[in-house]
């Protein structure tokens, strides 16, 4: 039982890495001016938070950091800033997940939305502090809204397709402790 769980964990971690790489690749496709519309949602962020709330062992922090840093470098963003913010939010959401276990999805969506909004605001502030050229504010707000709307979709797909669901109350984690 323990062995199957260990293989399963590493498979899911690999799956997380593959999905995030696929998302990055879609952003890089050479489609000319059409490319990706201005307010494309941040799917990697949604995926990370959805998995951290449900099964944090499938998205360990080193893997999150590696994927987010790769995304930062490949997608021509300011390297390191978004990754640091994502790590902090993922940790905070992960620690709060016990409180979200018994309440419905609505509360989870609300808490995650507040977290993501804080992320966007902090990023905007930091970029202003560093005097970096920013895309205009309405575009960022649109991107934030798109990300929040996409979050339930990502959760549904994770639960349905990838079977990343909250562990039942009697389930144990791989080392035998109560989850």
């Amino acid at each position: 039982m323990a062995e199957r769980n260990a293989t399963q964990i590493w498979t899911m971690r690999a799956l997380y890495a593959v999905i995030c790489s696929a998302v990055i690749m879609f952003h890089l496709l050479p489609l000319g001016q059409i490319g990706w519309i201005t307010f494309s949602p941040d799917i990697i962020l949604c995926l990370t938070l959805a998995w951290v709330v449900r099964r944090p062992e499938y998205a360990p922090i080193l893997l999150i950091a590696a994927v987010a840093l790769l995304a930062d470098l490949l997608l021509m963003r300011v390297p390191g800033l978004w990754t640091a913010l994502v790590l902090l939010l993922a940790d905070r959401v992960g620690r709060q997940r016990h409180r979200m276990r018994s309440t419905g999805f609505g509360v989870e969506w609300f808490r995650v939305s507040v977290g993501i909004a804080m992320l966007f605001i902090l990023e905007h502030l930091a970029l202003n502090l560093l005097f970096v050229d920013r895309p205009p504010l309405p575009a960022s707000v649109l991107q934030l809204s798109a990300t929040l709307i996409v979050y339930p979709v990502v959760v549904a797909v994770s639960a349905g397709v990838f079977r990343v669901r909250k562990p039942a109350l009697i389930e144990t984690s791989p080392s035998g402790r109560r989850a």
């Binding site: 000319g32 080193l62 021509m76 992960g94």
Partner: protein, 293 residues
């Protein structure tokens, strides 16, 4: 709370907090280093892209092909008109081809007469566009030719017809081309036939803005816009596009190159220019001459 302690998984031990603290600190440090010494971090970014992206190419190819098919499907609706349009254009092209051949012949004879050597500035390397920039606010593309093909930062890139951008970022086997439409792109131009110089500012739209035009009354929409070669940054007389006037009276350029379908780009090789790496010392120290002269 005691309850939380017994229930929490091993994944949330204090060591995790420490690890996250260290990671966040290193990442913020990376951001500050990027702000202070941008070229070094950008070179690191290009090195990462250089290693990662060519490996992704095989995976992106089928998706790119599918997307192109979907985009072409939209034009299938107008197939008949397109056919007529293309036939007309083909007739015109045939006439131009004849004229070009005659001129080429004449040119070769005259050059031969004068024993002229063509400038190395006019040779080029051709590369394939691998990816877009990945962000809707940074207009750039990645080419599959890099330092090992003899490229350097700042070289001009054209597609078959007009200027597309400049090389800004080099890896061993890839390089990044900053497009004319990017917000950071500035290009010195000349407007024919009045011969006025101006600057072309990219502004993230398909038609970049013209500014610093001294006598706007001398230019008309439809005028040819070419590079001026000012500052020795780009070769002169490369076709950029046509002048157009927007509704609020400002002048833009409709670019001659087809930015929707960038597939093959030519990078114009130039003569190596001096690299200015230091601050510009006031006292020039001649190392070959000792203190005694």
């Amino acid at each position: 709370m005691a309850q939380d302690r017994t229930n929490s998984e091993e994944y949330f031990l204090p060591i995790r907090r420490l690890l996250i603290g260290i990671l966040v600190f290193c990442l913020i440090l990376l951001t500050i280093v990027w702000r202070i010494d941008s070229p070094r971090v950008e070179r690191f970014r290009m090195a990462v892209i250089d290693r990662v992206v060519p490996n992704m190419e095989w995976a992106m190819a089928p998706v790119t092909a599918t997307m192109n098919i979907i985009r072409d499907a939209q034009s299938y609706a107008r197939i008949y008109e397109q056919n007529q349009e293309l036939r007309r254009e083909l007739q015109q092209m045939k006439a131009w081809k004849e004229a070009a051949l005659q001129l080429e012949l004449k040119n070769a004879r005259l050059l031969d007469l004068n024993n002229v050597r063509l400038d190395a500035d006019l040779t080029y390397v051709t590369g394939v566009v691998l990816t877009d920039s990945g962000s809707p606010f940074r207009k750039s593309v990645l080419l599959n030719i890099g330092e090992r093909d003899g490229l350097r930062d700042g070289l001009a890139a054209m597609d078959g017809i007009g200027l597309v951008g400049r090389i800004s970022g080099l890896g061993q086997q890839t390089s990044r081309v900053l497009l004319l439409t990017d917000a950071n792109s500035r290009l010195p131009i000349t407007i024919q036939p009045s011969g006025q110089t101006a600057i072309l500012f990219g502004d993230n739209s398909p038609t970049p803005l013209i500014d610093f035009l001294e006598k706007p009354e001398l230019v008309r929409p439809g005028d040819r816009v070419v590079t001026s070669g000012d500052g020795g940054v780009f070769p002169a007389d490369l076709l950029v596009g046509q002048l157009i006037e927007s509704r609020d009276g400002r002048y833009h350029v409709r670019l001659a190159a087809d930015f929707e379908r960038l597939a093959f780009l030519r990078v114009l090789r130039g003569v190596p220019k001096e690299d200015i790496n230091d601050q510009g010392d006031i006292i020039i120290f001649d190392e070959t001459v000792g203190p005694d002269g």
